[in-house]
Symmetry: C2
Subunit: 501 residues, 2 copies
């Protein structure tokens, strides 16, 4: 059985932590094990800060961008192998696995291009120079410089490739070394990526580390120049943010947590119209892709009350065609959940939602594997606005006049979507719900190959206020700000102009 080590301080190290066995969630077959996690994390962080940081800061944005292109190239050459690992260790269908791995490659390439566009600079200019006094000599200029710490990335189990890449691409481009910690249960993909990159020596020493297994005291070792980006449950996010040193040293934290993403069907949309069909397609994709284990998946389906029966029967018909099973079989459209505990949480979550099951059930109908069927809930209780069920589960909710008041009961989300061609309705709803979201998706049937609301694009910000964690990632060059310090230079204009070059 493969033994997964951590890559820390520039070498592979086994830990002395509690052993953990990684499974194939479709068959429960053991695939790998790790005892990592109890390594000398202080030394690993210091190595990243002291060796990786200066090496990255010595490079221009274009040079850092070229590194990202090399990473993307390395993943591309090993794409088939990574897809197989994602199918085996992640319960992914081949399509799910491509969504993860190709998303990783695309994000790396997008940030490589941003680096290229930023060119030979090593820090960013932030806005124009500002005349501060009556004479032009007294001058101000904001710049953004790489922080002198390490970027710790704590990733969720659902996107081992994309989660690694979307965070690492931005930090490395900003000039900050990365210590990435994948979720243990699905760590094989991220671990293999690290192996490939270490073997090819694509990055400067210390620029990238990987911690497999328990994070131990990792959070408590972070200081004022470090940053931590976390994707996962709100509870863990809260624990990280409560850490004494995080509060005392103002360690910068970005959290992407729970989100009760809504999809709203406008009252103007006729059943059977292209917009209606798009809406159904996006809902079903979000419920079943990655077995619903996407932080951006539609959880609340809001439809005008007079069409709710029609929508329900159409969704039931579509969900019935989704074949659930071992994703190694090519005709399977939805695999298992990632772990036994994810399955237990999802089933328990369905019970918490209340209401009735219009489709699917939480009964176990296979001896092995963490399978559940897609579940469509109708008439759920208030928990539908409070509890995210992280699986192939969504709830159908009727609205009367004002869907906004229901949408915002989610108390902050990553994305909600609107399917309508009534411009006035769209504008009002966008203004009402925008403050509560990081992204609003406006479905339109004329957009070819629309990825739907569930796909995170590197060009747009990803994150959301409130329950969603209050974070923000990606958004093209916007994502760099998290890893950099904005500082105002104030003084004599010729001195500052020479300084910024």
């Amino acid at each position: 059985m493969k033994e997964l080590k951590s890559f820390l301080g520039g070498r592979w190290v086994a830990g002395g932590g509690t052993p953990h066995t990684l499974l194939n969630p479709a068959t429960e077959e053991p695939l790998a094990r790790t005892t990592a996690g109890a390594a000398d994390l202080g030394a690993a962080l210091a190595f990243a800060r002291d060796v990786g940081g200066p090496a990255l800061r010595a490079l221009s944005f274009a040079e850092r961008g070229a590194l990202l292109k090399s990473i993307a190239g390395a993943l591309q050459s090993s794409r088939d192998e990574l897809l197989e690992l994602a199918i085996a260790n992640g319960g992914n269908t081949r399509s799910d696995a491509k969504f993860d791995v190709d998303g990783a490659i695309g994000t790396l390439l997008e940030y490589s291009e941003i680096g290229n566009a930023l060119g030979s600079r090593k820090f960013l200019l932030d806005g124009e120079g500002i005349q501060l006094g009556r004479s032009a000599r007294f001058h101000g200029q904001h710049i953004a410089v790489p922080r002198h710490g390490v970027a710790v990335h704590v990733n969720a189990f659902n996107f081992p490739a994309w989660g690694f890449a979307e965070k690492a691409a931005v930090a490395l481009l900003a000039g900050v070394p990365v210590l990435s910690k994948p979720a243990t249960s699905s760590a094989m993909v991220a671990h293999r990526i690290m192996e490939i990159l270490a073997e090819k020596k694509i990055l400067p020493e210390g620029a990238l580390s990987l911690l497999v297994g328990s994070p131990g005291e990792l959070v408590s070792l972070l200081g004022a120049q470090d940053v931590l980006a976390f994707t996962g449950s709100g509870d863990t996010g809260a624990r990280i943010r409560s850490a004494r040193n995080v509060i005392e040293f103002s360690v910068r934290i970005n959290v992407e947590a729970d989100s009760l993403n809504a999809a709203v069907l406008g009252a103007d949309v006729e059943p059977r119209s292209d917009m209606y069909e798009l809406f159904l397609k996006d809902v079903v994709r979000d419920m079943t892709q990655k077995a619903g284990q996407k932080c951006t998946a539609i959880r609340r389906i809001l439809v005008p009350k007079d069409v709710i029966d029609e929508v329900k029967s159409d969704l039931i018909e579509l969900l019935a065609t989704v074949k659930v099973g071992n994703p190694a079989d090519e005709d399977v459209r939805m695999g298992p959940l990632a772990t036994a505990s994810q399955l237990a949480d999802a089933c328990e979550g369905v019970t918490r939602l209340g209401g009735r099951l219009a489709f699917g059930s939480t009964e176990r109908n296979s001896e092995k594997g963490f399978f559940m069927s897609p579940v469509l809930v109708e008439s759920p209780g208030d928990a539908v606005h409070e509890h995210e069920v992280f699986g192939p589960v969504a709830s159908l909710l009727p609205y009367d006049e004002n869907p906004a008041s229901l949408v915002v009961r989610g108390n902050g989300g990553l994305v909600s979507s609107i399917y309508s061609e009534d411009q006035a309705f769209i504008e009002q709803l966008v203004m009402d719900i925008a403050p509560h979201h990081g992204r609003v998706f406006l479905g339109h049937p004329k957009i070819e190959l629309s990825p739907g609301p569930g796909t995170v694009l590197p060009q747009l910000v990803h994150g959301g206020p409130g329950r969603a964690g209050g974070g923000e990632e990606l958004g093209g060059p916007r994502g760099l700000a998290f890893y950099m310090q904005r500082v105002a230079l104030e003084g004599s204009r010729p001195v500052i102009q020479k300084l910024i070059g």
Copy 2:
């Protein structure tokens, strides 16, 4: 004796809290008292959110900017009265009081102009539109919309006018109602400002509230759409950030806390040169203005070791000319500290710094009033990099080759300053210390009326990483981001273009 009430829910209310008497810190004469603080804060916040928020959001940036201009005008008409209150209640010299009140007016006018420039929009466009697919139809656009909550501002005692205005100007311009809580001991200026604004009905109902006295459970009442900006001690900042609801609902918090601002004299600077004299002048101003009670004041004076004796004797000579006393007397250049407890903390802090007193003492030499002399410490212990003494106190430190390694021991600061004409030295030092600061001030004798590093300008960001709280305020339009939600609109290009107007 004047009774200070709170202005909450659109009316003046007395509280049932513990009574507190406000003093003249030069004479200890009682000036006012307040029992406010135990009002129904939940209702006050709801009024701001439900009445003030929609009223502000209905206005354009230009209209909100016009409100700021009216506030500035109202303060200007009452300037003399406000200066007198600052002198009496704040221990300010007339010059200190002008620094506070004129700073407030200037900041309001600066943000009024920003509003004017932003024009008839009610929300901001954030960057250009982005083509997301192969066809131009699939489109993205980031916008920033006002949050639907209330902005709670918890201000420090040292700048009752400026502290109120620099925070309120930005929030109101963003379209977010404000509940401002001045420090109780010096609340008379902020209270009078609120009286003037309420009397003239300058703002829409609910747009501005004032809480005098203890904040009670205020922090625990904030939710996902609210924000809190705090200026004060690191300990209180940590308490706010640890609050359960703040963590659970990702309440946005901005903290400006402790800062061990350094001033570095370059080895190229000849004693008696213009640059040298500017350096001395800035150090002495920062030590004595507002009796050193400025978060941006120079605390660590770094000079090349071969000139330290010369610098020390020059500083001693200048400090000896500073007359300390009741600021109501016109020839007094430095007033008392704000309160008895500030005085006790400052004296205790001097002891903590260790080393020797090159100038001044912590002995009490007046029967009444919270006076202390300016204190110049030499050969301090390591505490100089860890403990901010919030009074007229600075420490002299020699450096050998690399001042950066000393500067960054402050572990994050608001501003540090460099006095040198050696461009290579400046550039290296800026790059080394920039990640640890919100602002770097480059002293230059040819800048007329240079305000020195201790003055916060509305055009430049104010805040700093680590010990300084990890926050950021002002910076012209940059400051608006804290009060707004950035959201990506994703969909059909014509729909989005119509939506953004």
